[in-house]
Symmetry: D5
Subunit: 122 residues, 10 copies
C-alpha cells in the first residue's frame, strides 16, 4: 500500500562491509479500525551488499518520501513493519536488515515490532 515507487538507491560506496542505521522519529499512519492516527519511530539498520557485487543503499530523501506515503494509510503496526522490511529488501537485497517500529501507545500500552531479513548480528 505504501508507495514503493518513490524509493531510490545509490551504489554502495565501499567493498568493505559497513552498517547504516536510519532513525525516522516522526512516523505516522492511521489505525485501520478506528481511523485515528498512530505515531511512532522507525529504525532501519542494514549491511548493504558491497559495491563490486552491485550492492546498493537506499537514498535518504527517497526514504523520507516513502515513510510519508504511509501518512493517510489505514494499516496495523505489524503491517507497517513488514511492509517496510519487504520493500527495503526488494530494493537493496542487503546482506541483512532489521526494521523496528516503536509506537507511542494507545490505551496505556506502547508497542515495539521487530522484523528481520537475513542473519542480523548480535
Amino acid at each position: 500500500m505504501p508507495d514503493f515507487s518513490v524509493l531510490e538507491a545509490f551504489p554502495t560506496p565501499s567493498d568493505t562491509p559497513f552498517v547504516i542505521e536510519h532513525v525516522a522519529e516522526e512516523f505516522t499512519s492511521l489505525c485501520p479500525k478506528t481511523g485515528h492516527p498512530d505515531f511512532g519511530e522507525v529504525v532501519v539498520r542494514f549491511c548493504p551488499r558491497p559495491g563490486r557485487e552491485g550492492g546498493v543503499c537506499v537514498e535518504l530523501k527517497s526514504l523520507k518520501m516513502y515513510f510519508q506515503s504511509f501518512r493517510n494509510k489505514g494499516i496495523f503496526y505489524e503491517g507497517v513493519t513488514n511492509a517496510i522490511r519487504d520493500d527495503l529488501v526488494k530494493l537493496m537485497q542487503p546482506v541483512w536488515l532489521r526494521v523496528e517500529t516503536h509506537w507511542r501507545g494507545r490505551g496505556g500500552i506502547r508497542s515495539v515490532i521487530t522484523a528481520d531479513h537475513g542473519n542480523v548480528p548480535r
Copy 2:
C-alpha cells in the same frame, strides 16, 4: 483468576519470524495480604508462530481489558506474572514468550519478576 475470556487473537500476518513487545505502563492489582493496591508495569515480548502454521497474535485492546481484570484481584507479584505467562501461552502457543512485571515497591524495596516460555533469545 484474571479474566481469560476477554483475550482475543488474530492470525499472524506474516510467515517470516518477527517479534512483538507490548508495554503496559499502568497495571494495578491488590496485595492479597493487606488489601493495599500494588502498581507496576507489565512487559510482554513474544515471537508468534507463523501464519501458515495457524499462528496467532494477541489483539491489543483485548490485552488491555485482560490486564484491567486484575484491578481488584488479591494476587501476589509471582501470581500475576505466572498467570499472564500461562494465559498468553494458552492463547497463542508462541515460539517463545517472556513476561516481566516491574513493581513500584513497598517499604523501600522494588521488585522485578520474569517468567519465560520456550527458548527466549539472548
Copy 3:
C-alpha cells in the same frame, strides 16, 4: 463520593509557618463515561494554621487511605481535583492549599488540573 471519613489530622507541631507537600505517585480512579481506569499523580501542598490557633495537619496514612477510596469511583479529572481540595480544606482549614493532579493521558493528550484555596504564594 470519596471517603472523607477516613481522613485524620494531628495538631500542627509548630507556631512558625511552614509548608508541607505530599506527592502520591500511584493514584487511580475510573472514567465515568467509559469505565476505563485513569492513572495519575496527586500533589498536595499547604501551609497549616499554627498549633496555638488549633491548626491541624492531615495524617499521612489516612491520606493514603483517602486516595485509595477513589479507586473504583467513576469521576472526571476535575471532580477528583475539586473533591480533594474541598475535603482537605474542610479537614484542616489551612492558611492556603494547592492540589495538582497530573494524568497520564488518553488518546495522546495528558492533562494537569490545579485547584487552590486561599492565597497560594508564587
Copy 4:
C-alpha cells in the same frame, strides 16, 4: 481552516477558580510551502469562567478530534497557534488562556510559538 465544529464543551464543574492544562504530544500538520509534514506538541492552559456565570470547559475527546483536523492542512506554525487560540477563546471565553506550540524543527532549527488571551498569570 481546522474544524471548529467538532469542538464540544461542558459546564465548568466549580465556582472556585482553577486551571486546566492539556498537552497533546502528537500533533501534525503540513507545511504550506513544501507540503512536507510538520510535527509538534501543543500545550493549552486556561482558567475557565466559573460555572455560575455560565462558564464552560473544552471536552477532551472533542479537543483531540479538533487537533486531528489539522492533519492534512497546509498551515504555518503561527497560523496553527493563532487558530487554536482563537477557536478555544470563541468556544469558552475563558478568564485567560495560553497556547504554546513546540515544533520539532526543520533544517536544524526548532521553534516555539506562544499566543495568549487575557491576563495570563506569572
Copy 5:
C-alpha cells in the same frame, strides 16, 4: 532530641552578604510510630550575619555529626525539619535560613517539608 552540642561555628569570613547551601543526601531517622527507618535528603540554605557584626557559619563536619545524631531517634518529618531549623537559628542567628527535608516515601507517598526563619528571598 538531636545532639545540639556537636554543632560548631566559625566567624563569617566576609562582610558582604553571601549565601551558603548544604545538601545532605544521606539522612536517616526512625518513624516514632512503627520504628521503621525513614530516609531523606536535607537542604539547608542561609545568609549568615556579616563577620563585623559577629556573624558565624555552621562548620561542615559538625553539621554532618549533628545530622548523624538523628539516626536512631524516633521523630516525625515535621519534627526533624523544625528541630534543624531551630537549632541552626540558635547557633547562627542568620539573616535568613530555609530548611527543606525531602523524604523518599512510605506507601507510595513522598513528602517535602519546608521551614523558614526570617525573610527568605524569592
Copy 6:
C-alpha cells in the same frame, strides 16, 4: 560581517501580541585568534510588532542561511551575539528581542552570552 542580505521577513500574521522562539542547535563560527572552530547553539526569542502596524517576522529558512553565513567568519562570542541582535532588530524592529548564544566550551570553560533589545519580559 555575517550576510544580512539573506534575511527575509513576512508580515506578522496577527494583531494580538505573541512570542516566537527559534533554537538553532548547530551553529559554528571560527575563533578570530586561533582559527579553530567554535560550536554553539543560538536562541532567538522575540515579540513582533503587530501586523496592522506593519510588523514583520523573520522567515525561518532565511534565518538558517543567515546563521550559515557565520561558518567561516573569524568572530568572538560577543561579536556573534551582538551581530545577530543588531541584524534582527534592523530587520524586524520587534517590540522586544533576546539573543542567547550557548558555546560548547574551550579549555574546560563553557559560556553563555545574552543580548537584549527593548523590554524583555520576566
Copy 7:
C-alpha cells in the same frame, strides 16, 4: 552478624523456572573503622528451585527486616555483600543467586561489590 532469624520463605509458586529481583534502595550500615554510616542500594536476583522440589522464595517483608538488622552493625562493604549472599543461599538454596551492593561513596570513590552463588546466567 545481621539477624538471620528474621528471614522467612514461602514455597515457590511454580515449577517453571523464573527469576526474582529485589532492589532495596535504602540500605545503611556503619563503617567498622570510623563508625560513620555507609549508605547504599542492595540488589538481589535469583532463580528459586521449583516448587515440586521443595523450593522456596524469600518473603519480601522479612527481607526488609533482615536488611534493617544491618543498620547499627559495623561491617565492611565486602562483609555486607558476602553475609547477604550466604544467608539467602542458606535460606533458599536457589538454583543461582547474585547480590550486588552499590555504595554512595566516601572521599570521592563509590564502589560496587558483586557476589554470586551457582551459575548466574549472562
Copy 8:
C-alpha cells in the same frame, strides 16, 4: 592567594547592556585543614560596564589560568568564592556580578556558595 596578575581584560565590545556567563566545570583546590583536594564547578555571571564608559570584560584564557592558580592552594569554599568575586570586581568593576561555586561534597554533604556584587537581577 590566587594569582590575580594572570587576569586580563578586553574593552566591552558594545554599549548596549548584555550578560556574560562562564562555567568552569573543572575547578580544584585543597582543603586547608586536611590537605585533601576539593573539586567543584565555578559559575561567573556579570554585566560589564559599556565600552564607551571604559568598561572591560575578563579574557577567557586568562580566566582559565586564574582558576588554575587555585590548584595547590589550601583555601576554604567561602574563601574561594569571595576571592573570585573580589578579584573579578577589581579587574572589571562590572555593573553587577555573581559567583557561584558548586562543590562535589565531602562526607555525603555537597555545598553551593554564592557571592554577589552590585544589584544582580532576578
Copy 9:
C-alpha cells in the same frame, strides 16, 4: 579529500593490549548535493599494535586538525566514515579499529554509519 598529511602518530607506550576511544562531539562537513552543513559526532575506537612490534597511536591534536579538514568538504555520510577508517588504518595499521559517525539528521531522519577494520571485539 580530507587532509591525511596532518595526521601524526606516536609509538604505542605499552606491549600489553589496550583500547583507545576518541569521541569528537563537534564534527561538521558539507552535503555534496545541497551545500548545506551536516553536523555530527565521530567515535573512533581501536586497539593499537604493541610498541615492540612498531605499533603507533594517532596523536590527539593531529586527529583534531584532521577532523577540521572536513569542514568545507562536500562529502556524504558514508564517504566521511570510510575516509576516516581508511586514513587511520593507513596511519596506524591497528589490530582492529571501528569508526562510528552519528549525524544529527535532516528532514526528521538521523543516521549512524559504522565501518570496521579487522576483528572488532563484542
Copy 10:
C-alpha cells in the same frame, strides 16, 4: 611516577569469587606537553584471588591517596592508565583486573582508555 608506596591491601575476606569495582570521579593529573590539568574519572574493576590462596584487596583509603599522587604529575592518558593497571596488578596479583580512564576532553575530543590484566569476563 605515581606513589606506589601509599597503596595498602587487606586479605580477601572470602574464598568464593566475587568482584569489586571502585569509581573515582575526581581524578586529575597534568598534561606533560602543555602543563595544563587533565580531569577524568577512573574505574577499577577486579576479581581478587581467594583468601585461602593469600589473595588481597586494595584498601579504599590508600587507593584514594594513590590517585591523589598523580595530581601534579605530567603524564599522558595512556601513561596514567597503564601505571594504575601495573601498580594494582603488582599489589594484588588479582585473577583479572580492568582499568578504564574517562577524560573530560580537550579541544572538543573526549577519550576513554582501557587496559586489562588477565581474562576479563564479558
